[in-house]
């Protein structure tokens, strides 16, 4: 490829075919968030109280535990995509942006894994 201006280098190549994928995933996970966080909000309202016994009994049941695991996956994925856009918009130095995206992936995957592990431990009776 020539080394002309930025626009000269990309002209005629078409789109990178990556933005649409990110955009769609942001929507898919948004629909997941809509369903799962509303379920979570309704659960908070409908539980008799938010003390340890009520909450841990509830979250240990198969369906709520599954919904909570899905909530972790959907929100962490959605947040990972959203924070990437934030970094791309405001961090202009290529090196800093790379480091930040690296950190973001580690935090999103690490945080999500921790959340899922806690739910599994609760569901399998490890906290009692």
């Amino acid at each position: 490829m020539g080394n002309g201006t930025s626009i000269g280098r990309v002209r005629g190549l078409g789109s990178s075919h990556e933005g649409a994928h990110h955009w769609l995933l942001q929507r898919f996970t948004a629909v997941g968030n809509l369903l799962l966080v509303l379920w979570f909000v309704a659960s908070l309202i409908m539980l008799p109280d938010l003390g340890f016994a009520s909450v841990s009994d509830y979250l240990a049941k198969p369906v709520p535990a599954t919904a909570m695991v899905l909530l972790i996956i959907s929100t962490f994925w959605h947040a990972r995509l959203g924070l990437q856009v934030l970094a791309e918009d405001y961090v202009h130095d290529a090196g800093n942006k790379f480091a930040l995206l690296l950190l973001l992936n580690l935090a999103a995957i690490g945080g999500g894994a921790f959340g899922i592990f806690c739910i599994v431990r609760l569901a399998l009776g490890g906290a009692l």
Partner: protein, 144 residues
Amino acid sequence: MAQRPLSPHLQIWKWGPHMLVSILHRVTGDGMALAGLGILLWWLGALASGPEAYASFAGWVWPDLGALEWSGAAIIASLVKILLKLVLIGLSWAFFSHMCSGLRHFVLDIGAGYELDTNKFWSVASPVIGIVLTAGFWALLLLK
């Protein structure tokens, strides 16, 4: 970053409701991503660690304001607890507000809602509905 003049942005445009929902969507989304997911993990970690850990978590994020201590080093802890309670209320608002502006995004994504008056109407309505839903949520939660 290329050293060339940038187009004038925030400094020069007259604020309208559309810019407000746009930036609110970003602020609420990033706020939930950075603070909300952290507190969610704290909550799940406390639940998975047992009743004492859960009681400690609850004491930090949902303190009984009348029982806070105001002497010596406890002052700092008390201030942090009040801050966390405000953060939790703020996060509930962030969710409902982001949900409304997110649903507005879905409408705009299919190409609808761009007529000037319709667009302006929903730019105002989204954050207002978000506040109403937040108030309704707390009413249901605290008055049950």
